[in-house]
Amino acid sequence: MPSVEPDNKPSWADQVEDLDDDVDDVPTTSGSSKVDALIAISDEELPPPEEVIDGDTKIITEYSINDEGKKIKIIRTYRVETRKASKTIARRKAWPKFGESEYEGPGPNPSTTAICDDIFMTFVTNKEEALNEKEEDPMAKLKGTRIVQCRICKGDHWTTKCPYKDTLGPIQEELDKSDKPGEAGAAGASGAEGQAPPARAPGGKYVPPSLRGANRGPGESMQQRRDDQATIRVTNLSEDTRESDLQELFRPFGAISRIYLAKDKVTHQSKGFAFINFHRREDAARAITGVNGFGYDNLILNVEWARPSTQQ
């Protein structure tokens, strides 16, 4: 091994692949059918690989056959760089290859060295990080699920501590009772009318309309579009249901602004579904958890959020 010149001379060449690998399809000579083409290629000799060094660029042209039997011409362009380096590094650069690379020529071998696509370091700020952590924390998921569920209003507390114990509880009992003798549910509902729940706001305090809801501005106008946010849809109602029954059923959850019960135009009987507009979305949410699956009039009620009318 000839000794390597000291620092001041550009001592070793370095080849960096330039990532403009061109893959050109070379049209096959005979093209009547695919099989013909394959045979034609297997008969034909592939041109030998060429290597052209022009100044500081090295162009290697190779030919191969791809899976479809087409000839492929691969042009790799390398930039040859000369860098100054310390003696030891320069000496190491001149080491002959060994092991698995023993028979490889100078420069990177494309089968072991590749250049990846451009990637960037993404800089994260603390805020994003905090958000990410929230998403990923498995305990966060548990927080949403309830461990204790009230039998009356399905709220997140014990049945005995239910704030609707006095209001909703008797209704349920009454309904259960009336279910047993097989009476019509309407009668049960009217029976509960005797102990109609006291008109009590869920917070226990009067809230002026201007302050109701989260983002309500000063005053409410009559023309204002109904707030779909706090509307729930009740389905699987019996035909005998009346608006007063619904009023009674949903009143305990919060102030109701409007009840719409779909009725047949001719018979004036319920079509089996209704929309209830609450003033507050939280009340509506509680009503959904409380009454969904509630046995009413021998039918199991289905309560969910009403879809916005535009989608219907």
Binding site: T113, A114, M121, E136
Partner: protein, 325 residues
Amino acid sequence: MKPLMLQGHTRAITQIRYNREGDLLFSCAKDTKPCVWYSLNGERLGTYNGHNGAVWAMDVDWQTTKVLTAAADNSARLWDCETGKQLFQWDTNNAVRTCGFSYSGDTIMFCTDRQMGYNPTLDIYDIRAGEQLANNAPLLSIPIDGPKVTSAVWGGLDEYIITGHESGEFSQFDVKSGERVRNVKVHTKQINDIQLNKDRTMFVSASKDTNAMLFDADSLDHLKTYKTERPVNSAAMSPRMDHVVLGGGQEAMQVTTTSTRIGKFDARFFHLIFEEEFGRVKGHFGPINSVAFHPDGRSYSSGGEDGYVRVHYFDPQYFEFEFEF
């Protein structure tokens, strides 16, 4: 940045290391042939052929003349760096988990696993002494009672060896007496990697308990913690900036037994002092098993369970980035 992808291994990478000048990059994997590459252009210089099992760790001395490998074929081997010829082979009772050259390059250490009824031992040899090699009589052999050693480095001017254990403990062994000088336990699960900083006063540990931590190499005082959500397989300190890079990820085989999902095998950059993450680099499609900074701090490499080594040269944005505080 356009990373260089080195595809010389057929199985998961276990460790990568730069030599002192950083012109060569060494990689070993669960296949049997450790490789050496030119870090500048990703050209493979050669492979060290001879092992018959997974190679768990490797090291190179400061002059880049000798290479030491630790493998699961019950042997540790010494190679000539330039030619790839095997110089010596130590046969052990069971797999060799970790190995390292002392700073002087004259003494080596390696540590075996606990398997087949044999306790782990930490063996130290002076490779200049022919009789030690010929008679297989180590300069010092320290039996490890307790949890097995998963990672080890020389520390404190070659006066002691810092070992990281399966239980999350760190120990310091005196090289003269073979006594356990210090023992601390801060991590709660296995230590996967220990890497010293440039002046060898501190080391950063990577643990399965999802944290990486910074320790004083002399007193084993716990200094900083870098928290993530997945097991950390490797951590390295930048010699240029106050940065730490962490590589890790949930292994595919363990996704069903843990709560975290598969994916997100990013290399994560933390500020050394403020313990806050500021950057991520994507690319691997398996957990990152080993990361290493180039000694000049202008590039870093990562080797993953996917079998690839990626060499990244930082963009100017990385150097311009200022941590806000």
